[in-house]
Subunit: 197 residues, 2 copies
């Protein structure tokens, strides 16, 4: 998605070979018009899938997921994160380890809002090692619902998440795919491809 790549180039900060900071438009400050375009793009890519529900995770997944839900005309459910869950009645839960923060959270959604006849699109802001997406997949599977695919705003293709999800047979649609972060510069996957043509 050209608009998103341009924004990442302009406002993203490659702080190291692994860390891309996009808190000026995606995960702290949010650009609503960019989110709208992102929502439309997800809706276009999954238009033929018969999606009935979008599942995301707080907090940074919410804005792109709600915009996708607006254009797919389906409700959005966001999983909550907790250090540990004492009360879990009526909750579908999974464990998600964050390598960045070195902590494991329980994530959960109510079993009222994802049910076995749902066909779910999972959306998240980032895909790196895939832990959050795998946790959301786990929860959706526990509900008995089917999974149409996974929509990601920014994929760090140099980490294992995308390959792992595709190996498991899931359709992954990432709007920006980052091949590398080198010396403060962001290299997109399609840029490499264009160079080879």
């Amino acid at each position: 998605m050209k608009l998103l790549e341009e924004r990442i180039k302009r406002d993203g900060q490659a702080l190291s070979k692994h860390v891309l900071k996009v808190d000026s438009f995606l995960n702290h400050q949010i650009d609503p018009e960019l989110m709208q375009e992102i929502g439309k793009e997800f809706a276009n890519r999954f238009a033929e899938e018969g999606i009935t529900k979008i599942v995301t995770i707080e907090s940074s997944g919410i804005a792109p997921a709600v915009m996708a839900g607006l254009y797919l005309h389906v409700p959005v459910v966001f999983a909550r994160k907790r250090k540990s869950l004492t009360l879990s009645e009526g909750l579908l839960t999974a464990s998600v380890h964050s390598f960045t923060k070195n902590e494991t959270n329980e994530i959960s959604i109510s079993n009222k809002y994802v049910q076995k006849d749902d066909h779910v699109l999972i959306i998240d802001d980032f895909l790196a090692n895939g832990q959050a997406a795998l946790g959301l997949i786990d929860i959706v599977k526990k509900s008995g619902a089917s999974i149409a695919g996974i929509g990601i705003v920014i994929e760090k293709s140099f980490q294992e998440g995308a390959a792992e999800l595709e190996k498991l047979g899931y359709r992954v649609e990432s709007l920006a795919r980052i091949a590398a972060l080198n010396d403060g510069e962001v290299i997109f996957k399609n840029e490499n491809v264009e160079e080879l043509v």
Copy 2:
């Protein structure tokens, strides 16, 4: 806002005299089309204020805030909640006590995204005792920015938050104002008024 009141009547659950559950369309499952209408309504009510930024708090404030930002054409910044902040460089912080959860969180936003020339609209999903709104006001004041007002999706008018904010001189625009929760029924403030006319 009629559409919102009707939705609360239909899908909200008054679990006690103090607890209204709206997790089927606002704070766990989200109805994107309702959020769009809520965003338009906030934008209309604050259209003449010269808003430059919206500030909200994760997670349930994000969807209505992003929709308001879309129609006011301004960025949204969401405050993050943490049990305690070890690292606070570059962060504007405030303490927010939750009576419901009986815990105090530090909330924070980056000083990069709210600055002294900003004119801020604060948005949140609920206004009850006002702790979250007061925390957001505290943060915005620390940035040196001015506050245009506070936009609330659901105000529990029988708790002290709205009165306290108005006493402090803030314009509070609540899209639904709940006068009471009685025997599982939701009574709106304007219903009482209409009865008196």
